[in-house]
């Protein structure tokens, strides 16, 4: 590890984007100052690591060698930590993690459910190495996969190994990576290219970002191996410009790898030349589509092109091109190093290995998790995610971003793998999981995702450009009380039309949020249309703003919080809403603990 023999203790400070935003750099400064004050700077090393994953609880400090996990650390805690933890050898109890529902605090990182149930391959170095240090990456067996491939394997053997491992593309489609490489190798047209798709655009998803920021060399290693396998001499990493830290760290990683002879000419003296260039995207969601991405690199407008020909035959600049996403490449090094059998032993029959998810929404442990394929959704949300805050009821999980589907409560036992998710109308996507509780309106949620797709549609094909807008209009009608008999069937028919006739994967998948919510929450649509009522009390036009007398506990919370003095209440009296003053801001609904307003 990164341990230097002179240090007796390491503080691993998370320097992921989330923790930095909540102040980890200030914590670092405070700790450093404190250590210096007590002349301990040579005893304790502070390491800024990539994203630890447990973003909800940042800033995070993990203290080694014992693995004590401190969360929500603030600069003012620095004296306490140094005094207690470093000098006196006592754990700082108040900074330990506590599950919402549990009584006791958990001192060791491994004992925390969030970490304990994960299996790290892609995120193997998370929280353990300095993201900007190639030495630390190498110390953790980095580039051993590349070395093994170049030293002892032919390109065909590399492809065979990847095929055998069962690795499937983590970008959403799940196409077997080995087959893609094999197809690309087949064409004797040069130069060839291998591209890493780092244009992560799904709302709420940050898996690839964390890998690029936290362990950039794992991406470079995977790309170099794929380049060797398919016969490419040049790689590109397409990163969205909204990830400046990723670009900076990848660039440093590329420069360092070149210095070490791990990129550039004659890599490891094996006569293989491969180099990588970063291409920052300009912020179009559609550029995550592989062919649009290649157009973008070529300097053209990012729009999906026709297939066939496939990119493996004629991709970037009409040359055979292999494209995988960040997570796929991060899997490659370990597969080559430890062998396909090892990798294939993890996961399910059809989906091997692990998958990284960005867990967000109504869940306690918001963050980045990596679990073996086949883990159930339930385990993901409740064991790792720590369940729903405030004891609310789990309603649905949206998996796969704006193109994915909503999985309802009764299917929470579904295994997370490509086939199972497809069967329930969702998709793996790139790995965003948005957890929704009972306060979420599914019609509104569907509208949100369709809105995103309307905004991000490139405009090329009619069904996606015009059809999604029509769906959006219809959903808005329903949410605002203009729903009519037949609207559900209309949405289904149009949705299926868009799925069937859209040009690219984005359009084909865009109606999924609507289709899957209709499938599982049809009653909610019907309530909106027929009863003009939003059961989740989200769509303001469909809320009566009337107090349900039987449920009202006469506490007055609604009255006290109403910003427009629209609630009449006196002690021991049922509250009453004066609709002439009510602005439908929903403050009362959010404050009422008894669900007494409809």
């Amino acid at each position: 590890m990164c341990a230097s023999p002179y240090y007796r203790m390491q503080f691993m400070l998370c320097a992921g984007t989330g923790c930095m935003a909540s102040g980890s750099l200030e914590v670092k400064d405070a700790l450093e100052k404190e250590l210096e004050k007590r002349n301990l700077q040579d005893d304790v090393q502070i390491v800024m690591t990539g994203c630890n994953g447990f973003c909800a609880r940042g800033p995070l400090v993990v203290c080694y060698p014992d693995g004590i996990f401190y969360n929500q650390v603030k600069p003012e805690h620095a004296p306490l930590i140094v005094e207690e933890h470093v000098l006196k050898g006592r754990i700082v109890e108040s900074l330990l993690f506590k599950e919402e529902t549990a009584k006791d605090r958990v001192p060791l990182i491994h004992d925390i459910g969030f970490f304990g149930l994960q299996r790290l391959i892609v995120l193997r170095n998370r929280g353990l190495i300095d993201a900007e240090s190639i030495d630390e990456y190498i110390a953790r067996d980095g580039y051993a996969g590349l070395a093994k491939a170049l030293e002892s394997m032919t390109p065909e053997e590399v492809i065979e190994e990847i095929k055998k491992s069962g690795l499937r593309g983590r970008g959403g489609g799940g196409f077997p990576a080995g087959l893609k490489w094999e197809e690309c190798r087949k064409y004797e047209v040069f130069p060839k290219y291998t591209i890493c798709n780092g244009d992560e655009g799904d709302p709420g998803a940050f898996m690839d970002r964390s890998v690029m920021e936290g362990d950039p060399h794992s991406v470079l290693e995977g790309m170099a191996i794929s380049g060797y396998a398919i016969g490419a001499g040049q790689g590109y990493i397409y990163v969205r410009a909204e990830y400046p830290l990723a670009i900076e760290r990848l660039q440093k990683a590329i420069d360092d790898a070149r210095d070490y002879g791990l990129l550039g000419e004659n890599i490891l003296g094996k006569g293989y030349d491969f180099d990588i260039e970063i291409y920052p995207g300009a912020g179009a969601f559609v550029c995550g589509e592989s062919t649009a991405l290649m157009y973008s690199i070529e300097g053209k407008r990012g729009m999906p092109r026709i297939k066939p020909p496939r990119s493996s035959e004629a991709g970037l600049w009409n040359r055979p091109t292999n494209l995988n996403n960040v997570e796929t490449f991060a899997n490659v090094g370990p597969i080559i190093m430890r062998g396909a059998d090892w990798y294939a032993s993890i996961g399910t029959e059809g989906s091997k290995g692990t998958k990284v998810f960005a867990l967000t929404g109504a869940v306690n442990n918001v963050g980045l998790v990596e679990v073996p394929m086949g883990t159930t959704l339930k385990s993901l949300i409740f064991d790792i995610g720590g369940g729903i805050p405030k004891k609310r009821k789990f309603k649905a999980a949206q998996i796969g971003g704006p193109s994915g589907g909503c999985i309802p409560d009764h299917l929470v036992d579904v295994q997370i793998d490509y086939e199972s998710l497809y069967d329930v109308g969702a998709m793996m996507g790139s790995g965003g999981v948005v957890v929704m509780d009972e306060r979420t309106c599914m019609v509104d949620t569907a509208r949100f995702f369709i809105d995103f797709s309307v905004e991000e549609s490139c405009g090329k094909c009619i069904p996606c450009r015009e059809g999604l807008k029509v769906m959006h209009e219809k959903l808005t009608d329903i949410c605002e009380g203009r729903g009519q008999e037949g609207d559900i069937e209309f949405l289904q028919e149009l949705g299926r039309h868009i799925v069937k006739t859209s040009h690219c994967g984005l359009g084909k998948a865009a109606p999924n949020p609507v289709l899957s919510t209709i499938r599982y929450f049809r009653d909610e649509y019907e309530a909106h249309i027929h009863d003009k009522h939003c059961p989740a009390l989200v769509c303001t036009d469909l809320i009566d703003f009337v107090v349900i007398e039987e449920k009202c506990k006469k506490c007055g919370l609604c009255h006290r919080n109403c910003p427009s003095d629209a609630i009449i209440w006196e002690k021991k009296q049922v509250a009453k809403i004066d609709l002439s003053k009510c602005t439908k801001c929903r403050t009362c609904i959010e404050n009422c603990k008894f669900g007494a307003i409809r």
């Binding site: 026709i306 015009e466 069937k500 040009h503």
Partner: protein, 878 residues
């Protein structure tokens, strides 16, 4: 080949053919809104979705880009598919305002047609109320993005076919619209292809707005009269005025037109058109009626002939005459005027090119069909700035570059638009182009990059060629031209090793000697490397004007008779004398240069100028002016009162190309019909005038009409034997076409040469270009907006390119202290000078100034001369 079934019809197509094209071959139409055969399939409209069953699985796929595969079963018209199409169309209509009654595209709108065909009964979706600004700021083109259906055809044709990339989509999704960068007005080739390809009315030609809709137009298919490519034109006429110009998609030019072809026509209605004959009385030209004018002309010619002999008369024809007119003019000059002095100015441009080819190959013409260029792996442009001179041929090169990733080799004295393509650029001073081409040839021979055995079977003269190339090593030529010798070597290797390669040469203004050697170099290169007699190979020589080839074929030259026969060929003379019922004048006549010189000397006293404006377009303006002033009698036959006509004693107004019957022979030997779209009262056709004059002069030539003239031509000229108007009604024919069943040959020399074997031409001695002690080279520039000098009468072309501006390299401009828009004085070796505005241009190499040749105001020909094709000048701030 693959065989598939489409709607129950079995069809066998080439591998790689799309399902859509396969269906078309089977006679089945699949609806589309974003497909054009010129463009890479795009897949945006999703109307071409078909049900494909293969290996037991049925899928719904777009037909436009999915390839046909063996054993596929395709259904194109199931109820589900048609319902899908109805939804697609309904979705389009929600953001396409239904202003059809006021739309110029009404009746010529693919969306309208499909909405009708698929019986979209009502509008199921709420109309989108978005408003885009209607952009009228550009010349010729109007953008109304409210109507745009985002098929992308405009921007694709601009990129893939024109290679211009002026417009593209901006914004995203529903906000998406077609625009230039930051919405500035167009600054492009103004070819109007975007407007032509627009399936709806989103992009339209400005002047056509409000002037007529498709169903109101009477359409006439004819041939463009500008350059020698002979694009097929459809003229749409309403109220006896042409208001719409397009080209049919199945034409040999693939429906492509350039700016002149599409927008250059307003000259036919110019107010300044001559409508009445004029004769000079008491020093001024007065309008008279035709009888008076014709008898005056006939009488004066007869008088001069009687007084000074027929040798005192001379005639200058034009490359704009139809074949029939050129042929009859030839007969008129040689048997009515009875003078051997007949030439045309093309004799100093295009003539040089064909003179270079004929002794080597046998025919004085291009060897292959122009549409083959797009499949060539290497395109060598030898002094061919196609973007400006032959824009539609440039499209072929763009296609080769973009679709085939072909290499473009440019040998030129300036940068052209095509030097933006990835390729090899051998750029040097004017007059050295042939040196570079011969240096490539030497390298190919020295490195044995060719098949000696195959060459020996085909051609003689190899040893002489090798001996003549002694001084043409890349190093030596590189030293003279300043071009990197390794670049010459690379070009040679690339050209020789290409699976297929074409060479294009255009005629430089008045560069006869230069044209001959360039054509020889090109022909030698093609012969030696074997890039000949096969598809997508050979040498293309492209003349400036519409019937450059026809003028050669019809023998409009002092040393030639129709059918490339020498004037001293006794058999040919005899045959023609019988046909024309008259003896031919003895011996070879004077060429254009000598005619002008002898006129200035007073030896030529009567001159008949047909369709030319020597004062503006012939070299040595001073001499021409002197010659014309000195003549006893000058007759000018033209559609406008040109500056030459101003000096005439009689001016005869003629009909334009759009008003007459005839044929043109294009640069690829394609014989095509001209058909009249209308006729303005007053002028006569050239043909009518020649015949009427012959009657007046007492030696009447009687022809029932152009059709019978073509029959006579077919009887006389071997390669035209199988050509007749009845066959041309079916479509154009390539010569040689030797009998009624011969489909014509677009590729020459597939198996043999007319003379048995080809004859390689020896290279001329290497001469370093002289500088005359003057620092700069003057390059007469060609502009795509102009043709000769007569586009000055085309209001549209003058609108987009109103004045001639010289182009110079920034470094040269700084050296003489001028900036954009300043005026410079350009002085030639004789001390004569011209003044013109100047602008910075990346096209001009250091040490050269490009001056457009089309503008009478500049008087460029003050600096040029008959003898010295290359002009050295001094440029100063004026």
């Amino acid at each position: 080949m693959v065989t598939l079934t489409i709607d129950g019809v079995e069809v066998t197509v080439e591998r790689g053919t799309s399902i859509l094209d396969a269906a078309q071959q089977a006679g089945i139409r699949i609806p589309t809104l974003c497909n054009d055969k010129r463009l890479v399939p795009y897949g945006a409209c999703r109307l071409c979705m078909v049900e494909v069953t293969a290996r037991g699985r049925t899928r719904t796929l777009p037909a436009c880009f999915n390839p046909a595969r063996d054993g596929m079963e395709v259904a194109t018209q199931t109820p589900a598919l048609n319902e899908g199409r109805r939804i697609q169309l309904s979705l389009l209509l929600r953001s396409h305002p239904l202003l059809c009654p006021s739309c110029d595209a009404c009746g010529d709108c693919r969306l309208q047609d499909l909405v009708h065909e698929y019986e979209v009964p009502e509008l199921p979706f709420t109309q989108e109320s978005r408003y885009f600004h209607v952009d009228n700021d550009s010349k010729f083109i109007r953008f109304n993005m409210n109507l745009c259906i985002k098929c992308g055809m405009c921007m694709r044709i601009c990129d893939e076919v024109q290679g211009v990339n002026e417009i593209s989509f901006i914004h995203r999704g529903l906000e998406c619209e077609v625009s230039t960068d930051f919405g500035r007005p167009l600054d492009c080739e103004f070819c109007g292809q975007c407007a032509q390809v627009c399936p709806v009315g989103a992009i339209s030609s400005k002047w056509l707005v409000g002037t007529g809709r498709d169903f109101e137009l009477k359409k006439t298919e004819t041939t463009c009269s500008f350059c020698s490519l002979g694009c097929t034109l459809t003229l749409g006429e309403k109220n006896k005025k042409v208001v719409w110009v397009s080209s049919p998609g199945d034409s040999h030019n693939d429906g492509n037109l350039c700016v002149k072809g599409r927008y250059g026509w307003p000259y036919v209605y110019s107010e300044e058109r001559l409508t009445k004959p004029k004769i000079k009385r008491a020093g001024t030209l007065e309008e008279v009626d035709w009888n008076e004018a014709l008898s005056f002309v006939g009488q004066r010619f007869n008088e001069i002939k009687a007084a000074h002999g027929p040798g005192s008369l001379a005639a200058l024809g034009s490359e704009r005459l139809t074949n029939e007119e050129a042929y009859v003019f030839n007969r008129f000059v040689r048997t009515v005027l009875e003078t051997p002095h007949l030439d045309h100015a093309g004799g100093y441009g295009y003539r040089g090119l064909v003179d270079g080819l004929k002794p080597i190959f046998g025919y004085p013409a291009s060897t292959n069909g122009l549409t083959e260029i797009k499949k060539a792996n290497v395109v060598l442009l030898l002094g061919a700035d196609l973007t400006e001179s032959h824009p539609v041929a440039k499209n072929e090169v763009i296609s080769a570059w973009k679709r085939m990733e072909s290499t473009v080799i440019v040998i030129d004295s300036m940068k052209t638009r095509l030097t933006r393509a990835p390729g090899l650029y051998l750029l040097s001073q004017p007059g050295t182009e042939h040196l570079l081409a011969f240096a490539m040839l030497k390298e190919i021979i020295d490195q044995e990059l060719f098949d000696r055995k195959a060459l020996d079977l085909k051609a003689d003269g190899f040893d002489e060629l090798v001996a003549s190339l002694k001084d043409y090593s890349p190093d030596n030529v590189g030293r003279i031209t300043g071009v990197d010798a390794d670049l010459i070597r690379e070009a040679a290797k690339t050209f020789a090793e290409a699976p297929s390669a074409v060479i294009l040469v255009t005629d430089g203004m008045n560069r006869m000697a230069q044209n001959v050697v360039c054509a020889q170099a090109a022909a030698n290169l093609a012969l030696v490397t074997g890039h000949l007699g096969r598809p997508s190979s050979g040498v293309f020589v492209l003349g400036e004007k519409a019937n450059a080839q026809g003028a050669i074929d019809m023998g409009l030259a002092p040393d030639m008779l129709p059918g490339f026969k020498s004037i001293s060929d006794e058999d040919a003379r005899k045959k023609i004398e019988e046909l024309w019922e008259s003896p031919l004048p003895e011996g070879e006549g004077m060429n254009a240069a000598d005619i002008i010189k002898k006129a200035a000397d007073g030896e030529i006293r009567g001159l008949f100028v047909v369709g030319e404006n020597p004062l503006e377009t012939y070299p040595d303006r001073e001499l021409v002016e002197k010659a014309l002033s000195k003549l006893d009698f000058l007759v000018v036959q033209d559609i406008f009162s040109s500056s030459t006509a101003g000096k005439a004693h009689a001016v005869l107004p003629v009909s334009s190309f759009a008003e007459k019957v005839g044929t043109f022979t294009s640069a690829e030997r394609l014989v095509q019909r001209l058909k009249p779209a209308f006729r303005i009262p007053g002028p006569k056709t050239d043909l009518e005038i020649f015949q009427a004059l012959s009657v007046v002069m007492g030696k009447s030539m009687t022809y029932a009409g152009p059709e019978t003239i073509m029959d006579e031509i077919a009887g006389l000229i071997d390669v035209y034997q199988g050509i007749s108007y009845s066959r041309l009604a079916e479509g154009p024919l390539h010569w040689p076409c030797v009998d009624d069943s011969d489909p014509g040959k677009s590729i020459l020399y597939e198996s043999s040469f007319p003379t048995g074997k080809a004859a390689l031409a020896a290279a001329p001695a290497v001469v370093e270009p002289a500088t005359d002690g003057l620092p700069m080279s003057l390059i007469p520039g060609v502009l795509k907006f102009h043709s000769g000098s007569f586009t000055e009468w085309s209001s549209s072309m003058m609108d987009v390119s109103p004045e001639g501006i010289a182009e110079m390299n920034l470094k040269d401009m700084k050296a003489i202290g001028v900036g954009d828009g300043d005026t410079v004085k350009i002085t030639g070796s004789s001390g004569l000078w011209i003044r013109t505005k100047v602008k910075e241009s990346v096209r001009a190499l250091e040490g050269s100034v490009i001056v457009p040749q089309h503008f009478s105001a500049i008087k460029l020909n003050s600096l040029t001369s008959w003898e010295e094709p290359l002009v050295r000048v001094r440029v100063e701030k004026a």
